[in-house]
Structures are given as C-alpha cells and as structure tokens.
C-alpha cells in the first residue's frame, strides 16, 4: 500500500485526458443470427423522378418537423429542378448499408441504428458539415439560416413527406420483401446442386445419355492436351455450356455451379471480409491457372487440374454413396475458406472453368448495363455493394457516370438488377448502343 502510494503521481499531475473512444465509443456492427440467412431490411424512401412535379410539398412538411415552421431550406429533403432538362431530383438520405457520413463525422454524432436508420445526434453535432461532403448524395443538408445539419431520419419509420406527396413520387420502402430473381437463383442453385452432387454423381465432368452428351469445357481442354487427340464427341459435348455462355453470359457460374452455391452459403456465415493483398488481386490469375492446367496435362499426360477441381471434387466426393468417404473432401473447405478474404474469391481469381467461360463470354449476345441517368442523381451504389465479384465501379457511379461492366467477369447472378430501387440496371443485347439512361447525368 505504501509502495503504491509512492509510485502514484499526485492527482494534479495525473493525466485525466479523455479521448473520443472514452467519450463516445464506436458501436460495433451488430449482427443477429437471422441476418446470416435473411439480410436485414433496408428502409429508405424511394424517389420517382418521373412523377415529381416539383411542388415542394415534401420540403414544406419536412421542415415543420425539423424546425416547427414552414421553411423549405430547413427540410431534410430537397427537390432540385433542372431547368434545362426539365427533370426533378430529390436530395434525400438513402440510409446506406455502409454510410460514408458515419466515419466522416469527427465527433461520432452520426449513428446507424439497429432499425437501419442513420441518425444525427444533435447533442454531439458541431455543424462542421463534413458529413455533407462525405455523402455521395449530399443528403445531410446544412441550414443556411441556423447552420444546423438536417438529415432524414424517416420520421422514425413513418415519413411525413411520403404521406403528403400529392403525386406519390415518394415511396417508403423497407426493402423488397421478396426479390424474385433472388428466389429463382437460389432455387436453381439448390436444384443444380442436388442433381449434380446428390443424384447424377460425376455428371458435371462428363455425362452421356443416348446420343446427347455434356462435358466440362476445361476438362475437355485438358483431355485434348493430355491425349493429344481431338475427339469430336468430346468437343461437341463441351459446347453445351459454351453455347449457354454465348447466349446468356456466365449464367453457369451464378445459377448452376454447385461449388458457387457452396461459396454463396459460406458467404452467408462469413460476413466480415479480411481482404486480399493487392498483389494477389489479379483477375488474370485464373487464365494463368487455366494455362497451367492445360500445359500440365500436356506434360504429365493426365488431366492435372481435374484431380483438384472443386466442382468435380464436389460431384465425385459428396454423392450419397461416397459421402464422407473420399480423401478429396478436404479441397472443398480449403477453397471455401477463401471466402473469408473476399466474396467468391475462387471465382474471381482462380477458377479455370470461369476462365474458359470468361473467354467464351467475349462472344456473348447480352450485357448488363447500369444507366446513371435512371439511377439517382448521386447514386445509392447498392448495385456495387451486392455484386459478389466486385465488378461494378462505385466511384464511377458516384461521379454520375454509367460504369462499364466487364461481362467476361460478370457471373450473371443479376443481384444488381434485383437490388436496384430505380430499375437502372438492365439486361440489353450487346449491340444495343443507346441504352436508356446511359451516359452522364
């Protein structure tokens, strides 16, 4: 006790300074068990520019809630009229899944609640305006009179502007309850998985019934390389998936591939991504793997990659008869664990089957386009957030430009189409140059 007293500094000399973490600890993102299976609904107000007449009723009613008087400049929603184009835009908080205003606030006055609503705590707000600069939609609006920052809080779940809009140009949405593309995709993936893995064991690599045969295109390439002979039946069998790719892009990867289904399931339970070091993030790697597989097969005289192919392994090892019996079992969790680093890491960087389909997709008939004009003026970037292979350029969207989507990389999962609240993401034929809403806003 005496020793302690001697080592302790007098109270006046002790450092009692508190940092921001002591005053206002940053809240960790809470995830409930149900979030892994069904993502939390994303509440926001959807603006229909084609319906808005610019009457400003939303601004009026919003300002009465913010400052208890009709003062449109003090509203959390702003209608901007483009005199030349004859268009109205709204500046309105989208309550993003990962709000950029939140880390920008130096006093941590902005928080995203469990209900998904992003709020400003007036007690901590210093009205510095950094959030208005950080937000791609400029949604936190600085009141030119009082200098206060006003931001939509969805009227705590019952937005007044939506109720008062005479044209129904504002719709309150708690996210789509059921996304039909998502439903179809999961059903297709599940059925494909059951058929290829549990019922028709080994059928992905090669399957023949009567005069009809199907084969894995990568396996076929390796077969040709290893045997040194081109068997017409084998080549024509591989064409089935290639023709599907020419018609509909890499639909196989997004809708049929059983290993892709496993990866999507693993993604559900590994929400936190560690990321890849930048030197490993090259999408050309998979073409290198393909070249290696074909070259290796030629050199060694057998289909080298097929021995470790996760799709083939899954089909061969996890059937009802051979379930848990094969030593190949280990390859699946090993590759699936890459999901910890990034979504669909295997598909993005390593899969040689994806590489063959990617090359075939150069001849595809369709493309996915995101028209920035149809998109909100300052994009909500939800499409970029949901893309499992990360090919939608969020920065381009923030600049108000239509991003170019590399269809050789796109797995045609159509999550972007399903998620877009403005119907800006569309499928078009590749020769369609004039895309509605394409170009700069």
């Amino acid at each position: 006790m005496t020793e302690q007293q001697t080592t302790e500094k007098p109270i006046a000399e002790q450092d009692f300074s508190l940092n921001l973490d002591d005053l206002r600890p940053r809240h960790a993102e809470k995830r409930h068990l149900s979030d892994y299976f069904m993502p939390r609904r994303h509440s926001f107000i959807l603006f229909h520019p084609d319906r808005c007449t610019g009457c400003g009723a939303c601004e009026m009613i919003c300002s009465t809630r913010n400052v208890e008087k009709v003062a449109p400049v003090s509203a959390s929603v702003k209608v901007v009229r483009d005199e030349k184009e004859g268009k109205n835009f709204s500046i309105l908080c989208q309550h993003c899944r990962k709000p950029l205003c939140l880390p920008a606030c130096p006093t941590r006055a902005i928080e995203k609640g469990d209900d998904g609503i992003v709020r400003i705590d007036k007690l901590f707000c210093t009205e510095c305006g950094l959030c208005t600069m950080a937000c791609p939609a400029a949604a936190p609006i600085k009141d030119p009179g009082s200098q206060e920052i006003h931001k939509c809080d969805l009227c705590e779940g019952d937005p007044l502007c939506v109720k008062h809009c005479p044209e129904n140009a504002l719709t309150f949405t708690r996210g789509k309850a059921f996304r039909w593309i998502k439903g179809l995709r999961w059903t297709s993936q599940l059925i494909s998985f059951l058929l290829l893995v549990m019922v028709f064991i080994g059928t992905f690599c090669y399957f023949r019934t009567g005069s009809v045969s199907f084969a894995c295109p990568t396996g076929t390439l390796q077969n040709i390389a290893s045997s040194g002979t081109v068997v017409l039946v084998s080549v024509s069998s591989a064409l089935a998936i290639l023709i599907l790719t020419v018609v509909a892009g890499r639909l196989f990867c997004g809708w049929i591939c059983p290993f892709g289904f496993v990866l999507d399931l693993v993604d559900k339970i590994t929400p936190k991504k560690l990321g890849w070091p930048s030197f490993l993030k090259s999408r050309m790697t998979k073409y290198g793997v393909l070249a290696g597989a074909v070259g290796g097969s030629y050199a060694l005289g057998f289909q080298v990659f097929c021995t470790v192919c996760p799709i083939g392994t899954l089909c061969r090892s996890y059937g009802v008869q051979s379930f848990f019996k094969s030593a190949e079992l280990a390859i699946i969790p090993a590759l699936a664990s890459l999901e910890i680093a990034q979504r669909r890491s295997w598909c993005r960087y390593f899969c040689p089957v994806g590489a063959v389909l990617g090359l075939t997709a150069l001849l595809r008939l369709i493309k996915i386009v995101i028209g920035a004009k149809r998109c909100k003026k300052f994009s909500c970037i939800q499409c970029a957030e949901v893309c499992p292979v990360g090919i939608i350029d969020a920065d381009k969207l923030r600049e108000g430009l239509s991003p170019k989507i590399p269809m050789t990389e796109c797995i045609m999962c159509m999550r972007c189409i399903d998620r877009c609240p403005y119907d800006a993401a569309k499928i078009r034929f590749r020769w369609q140059k004039a895309v509605p809403g394409e170009g700069r806003i």
């Binding site: 009723a57 009026m60 009709v70 449109p72 400049v73 003090s74 004859g86 005479p166």
Partner: protein, 432 residues
C-alpha cells in the same frame, strides 16, 4: 388575437432607390384585418406612396398549407394599360418573399445606376447591377449565381426592358411570367434590374386544421379537370389554343407545378432545332418551361409550328410573347421570325393593345378560361388570398370559406373574415 399573426412576418420593406436606402417597417395590423392581403392590400399600401411606386405583396395564404399557395402580386400603374394593374407571379416567388422576412415590398424613386435588390432575413440590400445591362436573361442569371449572395427565387428584366421596349416582360428565373402590363418597362425606368429572394427563413403557419388540405384534395381529385393536367389542359380552353397545343404536344416532356400545387398547369418541353443563324449549332436540344398560356396561344396563331424557337427568343430577351405576336407576320420561316424579334428589341416602337378592361386589371396574362363575372371574382379571390389564380379558375368548386379555413377553424373568425374578404374583393374590382 390576430388570426393572421402566424401567416405574416408583419413587415413591409420600403426601398427608396433615389436615396439608395431601404428600411423595414411594421405592417399595419388594422390594414391587414381590413384588406386581408394580396392585391387589395397592395392597393391600400400604394395609396400612401407616389404614383410611380410599385408594390410587391403576398396574401395571407401564400406559402401556407393551402393548395397552390405560390402567389406574389406586383401592383403598379401600368404604362401600357394606363390603369392600376395587379400582375401575378407564381412558381415559388410568393413563398420565397415571405421566407425572406418581408410580406410586402414597396419600391419608390429611381436608382442613379442599374441596381438589383436582395431580400433575406428581413433585410434588403441594394446591389449594383450595371454589369447585367443588355445581358440576355439566362446569361444574367448565370452571372448572378456566380457573383451575388445566394437566392431561392429571382424576378429579372431582360435586354428588351433595358432598351425601353414596350413589349418587355419580367421573367421569373428564365421562364417568363404573366406580366403583360409593362412592369418590366417600369422597373427599367427605375433602373431596377430585378429582385433576388433569399428565402432562408420560415413561418409557423397555423396548423389547427391539418385535415383541411386533405379535404380539399378530395374535392379536387373528383373533378374532371384533375385528370386533364399540364399546360395543354388550360391552353386548349383558350382561343387558338387547340392549334398551339398541336404544335407543342409532341415536345411535351413533363408537367411541372408551382409551390404546393396538387394539379400542375405548366409543362416542360424539349425540342431539337437548328439555329439558322448559327451554322455550328446542328440540331441542338433545348428545353423550356411553358407557363404563359395566353402568350403561347397568341404566338402559335402567328408562328405556327415555329413556336418553340420563337418563344425561346422572347424569353431570351425578356419579351412578352403575346405582345411580340402582335407584331409578327404569319407564314414566315424561323429565321425571319428571329430577325423580326431582333428588330423589335432594337426599334423602340409604341405598343397598342386590345386586351379587355377586366384582363388589364390583372396584368393581361391570366387565362380567360371562365366566362362572365365568375372569372374576375375567382381571380380577385386568388389575388387577395395569395393563391394561384389559374388553379382557382380550374377548380371553381373550391370556395372562399374552404380557403379561409386554412387561417382559422373558428366559425366566428371565419364569418368575420368572409365579410372582409367580400369587401376586399369588391374594392379590388371597383375599377371595373
């Protein structure tokens, strides 16, 4: 208690351009109780000043939860009609004037040099605007946005007014207005280029009767006019309007509404054309907001399918399309029309009008879509209360008591206000 208290700032701004001074004085409560506001109040205020003064005013409902509460009224002795005129200004001018901290603005005297007013937070600044002289309206607006304090609404005169052309018209932003009574000419005589309204304050309008708006919406939504909306719905009711509609309909882009208006009567049009005087400009796309029904109908009669480029030229110079139409021949090319407009701006010609007396009283631009006394009574009602006259003409079933109930739900107060409203309307229509 004064029922108008939350509806007004209770302030009048008085600008003496000769002395380059501006002051804000309290609004006379008795005068407000007697005349309610708008054009009736403008006339009463104008009596206290010289004949060359002009008054901009709002009604009690301007900016409130009443539908189409967008009105600002300019009252002045018209140099063209030679009588007292009340010109309505819509879009957001009325609410922005109130939200700038003054309810009425009196402008008297003549500025020694071209000036522009900036009103905000109940303060008025007289700013030099010599650099804007002879500048086309869109360019002048761009210049103001760059160099002047921020504003929400703007009324401005164009190069036509700077040159003293009698066909000049004031423009709300770059969209034109219903001024056909020579307000732009009067402003140019005073060396007043325009008025910028900051609109950054607000007013705690009475919300005792929040369901009143919904009740009115129900009444309106059952009306057949509610479905027929946009510029053409009004245009086709005017003489020659159907032909104009034919030329304009193909370019229709979007219907637009003024402040808090549930049934838009303006339309944004987009059209592509080639300026024959500018060979570098190939099939340029352009957009216009159509708000002047009578002007478009008159112009279409003369220029036919060339209406949009000709209208654009009018707005560019700050000209009244109806006035310009009087001087244009029929059946010419776009180039000839554009040259004729240039000629109108450069020549200082005298103007003759054949507008009826009742139209003159309200600036000559309110579309005559109702017949008989009903038209002037509805317009006068709108001009006193500060509600868009076109909206009240389109929906004649909206009664004065329905509008007054936005001010107070008390029956006694309503009865008194109705009496005063009738007397204010009578005094306003007395010149007729």
């Amino acid at each position: 208690m004064n029922p108008f208290q939350p509806f007004y700032n209770m302030k009048i701004g008085v600008v003496d351009l000769s002395a380059s001074s501006a002051e804000v004085i309290p609004l006379d409560q008795e005068q407000v109780s007697r005349y309610l506001g708008g054009a009736a109040m403008n006339s009463a205020i104008l009596e206290g000043y010289q004949t060359d003064a002009l008054v901009f005013g709002t009604g009690p409902l301007t900016g409130s939860f009443a539908p189409a509460s967008s009105l600002m009224i300019a009252s002045f002795a018209s140099p063209i009609f030679k009588c007292l005129c009340h010109v309505p200004f819509m879009l957001r001018t009325g609410p922005d004037m109130k939200f700038s901290g003054v309810d009425y603005l009196v402008v008297k005297g003549t500025a020694p040099e071209q000036s522009i007013l900036h009103v905000n937070h109940g303060k008025i600044r007289i700013l030099p605007a010599g650099n804007l002289q002879h500048m086309p309206v869109p360019e002048a607006i761009r210049e103001l946005k760059k160099t002047s304090p921020a504003f929400q609404s703007l009324i401005i005169t164009g190069p036509a007014a700077d040159r003293g052309v009698p066909y000049a018209s004031v423009s709300i932003g770059q969209n034109g207005s219903l001024d056909k009574a020579g307000l732009a000419s009067l402003m140019s005589v005073k060396n007043l280029k325009g008025i910028m309204l900051g609109g950054t304050d607000g007013l705690p309008f009475n919300r005792d009767n929040p369901h009143q708006g919904k009740e009115l919406e129900k009444i309106i939504s059952t009306d057949k006019n509610f479905k027929h909306r946009g510029f053409y719905s009004v245009l086709t009711k005017l003489e020659g309007g159907k032909d104009a509609g034919k030329f304009l309909k193909a370019s229709r882009k979007k219907d637009m509404a003024c402040y808090h208006c549930p049934s838009p009567c303006m339309t944004h049009v987009r059209y592509s054309w080639q300026d024959p005087r500018n060979k570098e400009m190939q099939n340029s796309e352009d957009g216009l907001l159509l708000l002047d029904h009578t002007g478009c109908a008159a112009l279409a009669k003369k220029v036919g399918e060339n209406i949009l480029p000709v209208l654009r030229a009018c707005l560019h110079y700050g000209l009244d399309p109806a006035g310009v139409a009087e001087r244009l021949p029929q059946g010419r090319t776009v180039l000839e029309y554009l040259n004729a407009i240039d000629q109108i701006v450069s020549d200082n010609l005298s103007r003759t009008t054949d507008v009826s007396q009742r139209q003159c009283l309200f600036g000559g631009g309110v579309p005559p879509i109702l017949t008989g006394d009903l038209w002037e009574k509805r317009v006068a009602l709108a001009m006193v209360l500060g509600v868009c006259p076109v909206f009240l003409l389109r929906f004649p079933q909206i009664t004065d008591s329905a509008l007054l109930s936005f001010i107070s739900a008390s029956e006694d107060v309503l009865k008194t206000m109705q009496e005063r409203l009738s007397s204010a309307i009578s005094s306003l229509l007395s010149p007729l």
